[in-house]
């Protein structure tokens, strides 16, 4: 081999000061390239929400004729399953994009560039929108011809519920990323199961009042419980429950602050331990 003489011009690279949307876009592009490169991954994003929706759709049909509670609002279970998926996919959207860097042992390269941790977090959040969109929208559309139910009939409250659950998903996703940074890839399964610990107390398919008294206190500190109670209020009573909305929004702020703090704390600890250079499969 022979060495070609490099070009003579001197490159002028901008300084790394301040927030850069270009760097956020660069990270998003990295994850979009990855999604594009593997159709089975994209299919998997659609597959589970669709299967869930189909199962709960049949369950709803059965309960419509056997449960007066479900009969009052036919789509209550389908709406619940789809909104729960919004939160789960929102959390996964953050955690899995983060895990991609761990799997590819790329953290060392990333943080030797001017990329700031918060720019990366913003890109993870945008990617969770993309992943939720790919995962949940097709099943929501599929429910219309299959079960004659459109979650979009919820109207503006749907937007509120969607946002509140996304916020909670991001908070959990960030905290999970922090824990994986702390404990290494051996802890990656947290990304898949952590959210399900909260499922029984989130009152997804039943009211909070069903839970034992002490568990109700736990339920009310979860934004998700307020969202699902609120969703049922909209569907059964046709009013928007402002109390649940503000409670969920306030709790989301606390959850997001806590999730972000856990992430930044363990990120700093990873720099102290040298984990950014070592993390990988």
């Amino acid at each position: 081999m022979t060495v070609a003489a490099p070009a003579p011009a001197r490159l002028r690279v901008p300084t790394g000061d301040g927030f850069s949307p270009a760097r956020v876009w660069a990270m998003m592009l990295r994850y979009l390239f990855l999604l594009r490169s593997s159709w089975p991954r994209t299919l998997e994003l659609i597959y589970w929400p669709a299967i869930q929706m189909i199962l709960w759709g049949f369950m709803s049909r059965f309960l419509m004729t056997n449960s007066t509670w479900v009969a009052k609002a036919g789509g209550v279970l389908l709406a619940a399953v789809m909104l729960w998926d919004v939160m789960f996919r929102g959390q996964l959207g953050v955690s899995v994009s983060f895990l991609e860097e761990m799997w590819s042992r790329n953290l060392g390269h990333l943080f030797a560039t001017p990329l700031r941790p918060y720019e990366w977090v913003i890109s993870l959040i945008f990617m969770s929108f993309v992943r939720v969109g790919i995962g949940v929208v097709p099943s929501a559309l599929l429910a219309i011809p299959l079960y004659h139910y459109s979650i979009f009939t919820l109207g503006l409250p749907l937007l509120a519920f969607f946002s509140l659950l996304m916020f909670m998903g991001w908070a959990m996703g960030l905290a999970i990323c922090g824990l994986i940074l702390r404990n290494g890839l051996g802890a990656e399964s947290i990304a898949w199961f952590a959210v399900f610990i909260l499922a029984p107390v989130s009152a997804i398919y039943y009211p909070v009042s069903i839970l034992p008294r002490w568990l109700q206190y736990v339920a009310w500190i979860l934004p998700s419980s307020h969202v699902f109670e609120g969703m049922r209020t909209v569907m059964f009573q046709h009013t928007f429950p402002l109390g649940h909305f503000f409670a969920a929004a306030g709790l989301d702020v606390i959850w997001l602050a806590a999730g972000g703090a856990v992430f930044l704390l363990y990120m700093r600890q990873a720099r102290r331990r040298g984990a950014l250079m070592q993390m990988g499969e």
Binding site: A7, L29, S37
Partner: protein, 251 residues
């Protein structure tokens, strides 16, 4: 006097009771290729990680381009880059996608042309659209070098730049680095186990042992000081000898 690009003072890293880097000091001027030499666990990679800001020191200071690396690393990082066989690029992304992502992270102006230039210089054009994970070791090294040169760094840190390469590719990489330094007046600091590589590329060699710099000089000066024929023999004297008495032992 040449401008000091990198200045390290009392740099220390402890992991619990283990002292990985033990209060090292050194300066590097612009346009010099220097090496950190030492056996496994001598502290070379730990030192490079701290210089990159990937690892926080337990004590000491790092100044790069006159900026405190611990407090203003984001001002320094656009002018710095690195390559290491221990840190991968994403395997599923193609070479072009990898370079596009990193080019955007550095906000390289005229990125498409920059990638084309590097592809031509580093002879990676034939596999620009192949996934990084499907490349041979030599191809991966050249791509990693392309990533490291995307921002045309004024300070280039290289960890084992020719590890696992065949002699032809290794020689090619060394020639490229010589040409790059000559053209850009960049400072290059490399950690290596390859003595012939260090003898060929470096004007300044820092010998590390147990986290300390135990000797320093040009390859010729070190060889003369230890009364040896090659840098490898000097390395072995230091690696096998008593902690700080190799010069006397050689004499």
């Amino acid at each position: 006097m040449a401008e000091i690009v990198l200045s390290v003072s009392r740099l220390t890293k402890k992991f619990g009771d283990i002292v990985a880097v033990d209060g090292i000091d050194f300066d590097l001027p612009r346009g010099v290729t220097a090496a950190l030499l030492g056996g496994n666990g001598a502290g070379k990679t730990t030192t490079l990680s701290m210089l990159l800001g990937l690892l926080l020191p337990s004590d000491g200071a790092i100044t790069i381009f006159g900026e405190n690396m611990l407090t203003h690393r984001h001002r320094v990082l656009p002018r710095l880059n690195f390559s290491s066989p221990y840190v991968d690029l994403p395997h599923r992304l193609t070479v072009r996608q990898n370079l596009s992502v990193y080019g955007r992270l550095y906000r390289i102006p005229g990125l498409r042309e920059r990638i084309a230039t590097l592809a031509s210089d580093l002879q990676i054009g034939d596999f620009l659209d192949r996934p990084f994970g499907k490349l041979s070791a030599g191809q991966k090294t050249r791509v990693a070098l392309a990533k490291a040169l995307l921002n045309e760094p004024e300070l280039l840190l290289l960890d084992e730049p020719t590890a696992s390469l065949d002699p032809d590719t290794g020689d090619w990489v060394r020639s490229y680095l010589e040409t790059y330094r000559a053209r850009t007046d960049a400072t290059i600091l490399l950690a290596s186990h390859n003595m012939s590589e260090v003898e060929r590329l470096c004007a300044d060699v820092m010998m590390m042992k147990k986290g300390r710099i135990v000797d320093r000089g040009s390859p010729t000066a070190l060889i003369a000081r230890y009364g040896r024929a090659t840098l490898e023999q000097v390395f072995l004297d230091i690696a096998r000898g008593a902690d700080f008495a190799p010069r006397e032992a050689a004499q």
